[in-house]
């Protein structure tokens, strides 16, 4: 079956003539090259087929499981501690590794005091399906830049990936509106984990409840 941009697509359907730029087509998630070149692209996930000029294609579907992607900022929970390595649960298939030296100012003598169950905000430096994902808590100048261990006074939530994308949009009013009623800190991970900490535990729960409720609302904002 042949499909067009904007259609709801199903695995196995094809897009015979994708628009290319000098023979190059950029494929996002949900699309593969057909085994038989005359068929062009084959869809491999259910969703809406999207296109960005001149040559980018992807399928916008909805998946609960997080697949690590290089450069993503994620919130993770320490699952294991072994020597200078931490294993962090970021919700992907495999635990990510985080070196004790990739924190600001960490040396062989002065290592971050992280326990199993602690929450960290980190950046993915390697994410490849053949390898274990790797996290760091410093930027390229070896500064923390808001990354690192998060307070254990806060609250960790698991949110829908669609809400995460909306929250990260600076135009989205939800976080600003919440900030008018209470003071809070928030760390939003692309993996769906969100850390919230208010000035009081009442504030924390207030924000957490609002975020959980926002999951059930549509994309439409006024």
């Amino acid at each position: 079956m042949v499909v067009n941009v904007g259609d709801v697509v199903l695995p196995g359907e094809c897009l015979p003539e994708p628009r290319s730029n000098k023979g190059v087509v950029i494929l996002g998630p949900g699309l593969r090259r057909s085994e038989d070149d005359s068929k062009g692209l084959t869809v491999s996930r259910a969703g809406v087929l999207c296109h960005k000029a001149p040559n980018m294609y992807w399928v916008e579907g909805h998946a609960k499981r997080y697949v690590p992607c290089k450069g993503d900022l994620v919130v993770g929970v320490v699952a294991k501690k072994s020597g200078d390595q931490f294993k962090i649960d970021i919700g992907s298939a495999e635990h990510a590794s985080l070196s004790a030296f990739s924190f600001e100012g960490a040396t062989k003598k002065q290592k971050p005091d992280l326990q199993v169950g602690d929450v960290v905000y980190a950046k993915l430096v390697t994410a490849h399906r053949e390898m274990e994902p790797e996290l760091v808590c410093v930027n390229k100048y070896f500064k923390a830049a808001n990354l690192g261990p998060l307070s254990n006074q806060g609250f960790l939530l698991n949110l829908d990936s669609r809400l995460i994308v909306r929250l990260l949009d600076v135009q989205h009013p939800l976080l600003a509106v919440l900030a008018k009623t209470c003071a809070y800190e928030i760390a939003i991970g692309m993996n769906g984990k969100v850390f919230v900490m208010g000035r009081t535990s009442k504030d924390t729960m207030h924000v957490a409840e609002a975020l959980l409720a926002a999951q059930h609302h549509d994309n439409v904002t006024t």
């Binding site: 079956m1 199903l10 359907e13 084959t42 579907g61 998946a63 609960k64 399906r129």
Partner: protein, 216 residues
């Protein structure tokens, strides 16, 4: 999932996301059989089951009550082989994909129902697939007539039972399972009938997925 007396019993009914823990789930009812399917994946997998070039697919079939028996193991193997064909498992090396099927009500064509439920759950989970799959069951009764979508009683009394699984892109056969004795012509007739049945299921898939993505 709503079902009233006017609902056409031959059309399947399903609903997504009834279970919150799995990555994709569906409750699916076809004829008089109902199953719940849940898909977890890609997930961490035990080192002895890990494959370095592709994801390992595991299937669990849970009967209505009690522990899974030998018959259920057979179902698991059939469903696993079919799912392995449909999935692009090379995209998930060193990880696992689990398909769990819980039988809710059995009234004939349970394998078909389970395979179709597994396909919908995989669609819901967003795991890459080469194509969709649809299964259909057909029975040969004692008089030599073919019955499409048989009931449990018809299936028990049947001389032969055929289960065919088709794929959506070119309509090729993915799996064929038969029990009993039959002639070659009867097999071919059953194949034709099941192919028509599977076309209906593919239409149904399209309808539910359209519904899922258009309501937003």
């Amino acid at each position: 999932m709503e079902m009233d007396s006017n609902t056409d019993c031959s059309m399947p009914i399903s609903n997504f996301g009834n279970l919150t823990r799995p990555d994709g789930s569906t409750i699916y009812s076809q004829g008089k059989s109902t199953v719940i399917a849940g898909v977890y994946g890609p997930i961490d997998v035990k080192p002895q089951k890990m494959l370095i070039d592709r994801g390992s697919v595991e299937t669990f079939f849970r009967p209505k009550s009690g522990l899974p028996g030998v018959g259920d193991r057979l179902y698991e193997t059939i469903i696993r082989n079919i799912c392995e064909t449909a999935l692009v498992s090379t995209l998930y090396p060193r990880s696992g994909i689990q398909v769990v099927i819980q039988e809710m009500q059995s009234g004939g064509e349970l394998i078909s129902c389970s395979v179709n439920a597994a396909c919908l759950a995989l669609l819901d989970s967003g795991i890459d697939m080469k194509f969709l799959i649809a299964a259909a069951t057909c029975c040969l009764d004692q008089e030599g007539y073919l019955i499409v979508d048989p009931t449990e009683l018809q299936q028990e009394k049947a001389k032969a039972t055929f289960v065919f699984v088709f794929e959506s892109s070119e309509g090729r056969i993915v799996a064929s399972h038969t029990t009993g004795t039959f002639k070659l012509e009867q097999y071919e007739q059953a194949l034709d009938l099941c192919k028509k049945g599977s076309a209906k299921i593919f239409e149904y898939y399209r309808k539910v997925i359209n519904g899922k993505y258009n309501k937003k």
